[in-house]
Symmetry: C2
């Protein structure tokens, strides 16, 4: 794995390289009944700001992706850092382009030839994520670190808790925070980069001053 | 990790132990918009045929699970074997029982005390999977191995391809199969335990004799 980066250096490019290096990544979809499904899929290629994967036409995963054109993925490194990514899936419809992509992917991932020898590779089709919301997450240290990022034309996701103007500075939240990531001030402020989003601050605030964004 | 088991020895008990040992597992849900979401969650305990996990009340994951009461999970060992599990989530509503479960889970997983020191642990709630469909999957060898299993009162999932009576024994499918897992006969037969479910056999069959079950 690449070295653990400084927080300022975590961006979409870093996270794409991270996911490619992790390679075996969980891909979640929703099935025809609207229920979640998840399986391990390889990140086959990262090129031009896109993350490429393949699916065989016979698989439930292929059917889910073609129907919904949306996936959520998460990969974890051996040192317990993770990247998540959610977004719209693009599928080149042209057969010539599909064969070109599959050939390129097999060049970059030679072990695929053992699984799909000869022409059987063309039962696979290539997809990519281009516009997606992501998050880098490192739970291994204290405090934890989380960094949102966006791919392509997507915007960074806004989530977590914020302390509003109703804060009277009593300090109950800061004391209760398991990560000790709430700073004094008017109002008090949550360091989003270190927040677990457990919600304990909002539960203990006597003034109902802490809100969940999502 | 435990040793690679004989195919006959892969059952629900083995797979629960496998997931507990992998521990950092991808949990997929659907969000309020019906889109998939996925994140790494620890398998905290396996007891009485149940797989336990926790979620903090402030998290989007908690909201998803409470709303849908359904998760799909997948874990992978360092030697590239995976287990998947999908099913209904149970949530003990009683607060005393919740505290008992969280305390027991913290005993079994001491590192949780660093993340949630003192009483902050009770922002977590315990959930378990009891009735679920699963699949063990080993892509590392040739041929690949997949074994379905069921937890609790769930039935094993039926999926993949079958060769019907329309088969005339021409052998086109067996020749095209990337895993070489189709045996001659009347009709020919797919060894489900070694099938990638890529669907190539169904595509090449000149007699439209191969059907997808799901």
């Amino acid at each position: 794995m690449e070295q653990v980066p400084r927080t300022d250096d975590i961006d979409a490019g870093y996270c794409l390289r991270f996911l490619r290096e992790v390679r075996d990544v969980a891909f979640a979809t929703t099935d025809e009944a609207g229920l979640p499904a998840v399986r391990i899929i390889d990140v086959m290629m990262v090129e031009g700001g896109r993350l490429y994967f393949v699916a065989a036409r016979g698989k439930a995963f292929y059917a889910d992706v073609m129907r919904t054109r949306f996936v959520a993925i998460v990969g974890q490194s051996p040192d317990f850092r993770t990247c998540r990514l959610r977004g719209a899936v693009e599928h080149p419809d042209d057969e010539v382009e599909q064969h070109r992509l599959v050939d390129r992917i097999f060049e970059l991932n030679p072990s695929m030839q053992e699984l799909y020898p000869g022409d059987s590779r063309y039962v696979l089709e290539a997809f990519y994520l281009q516009d997606a919301q992501g998050e880098y997450f490192d739970l291994s240290g204290t405090p934890i670190v989380r960094v949102p990022f966006a791919l392509g034309s997507a915007r960074e996701a806004v989530a977590g808790f914020v302390i509003t103007d109703r804060c009277v500075g009593c300090g109950t939240c800061a004391e209760a925070c398991p990560e000790q990531c709430i700073a004094t001030g008017s109002p008090y402020e949550i360091a989003q980069v270190h927040c677990l989003r457990c919600g304990r601050c909002a539960e203990v605030c006597p003034h109902d001053a802490i809100e969940r964004r999502s």
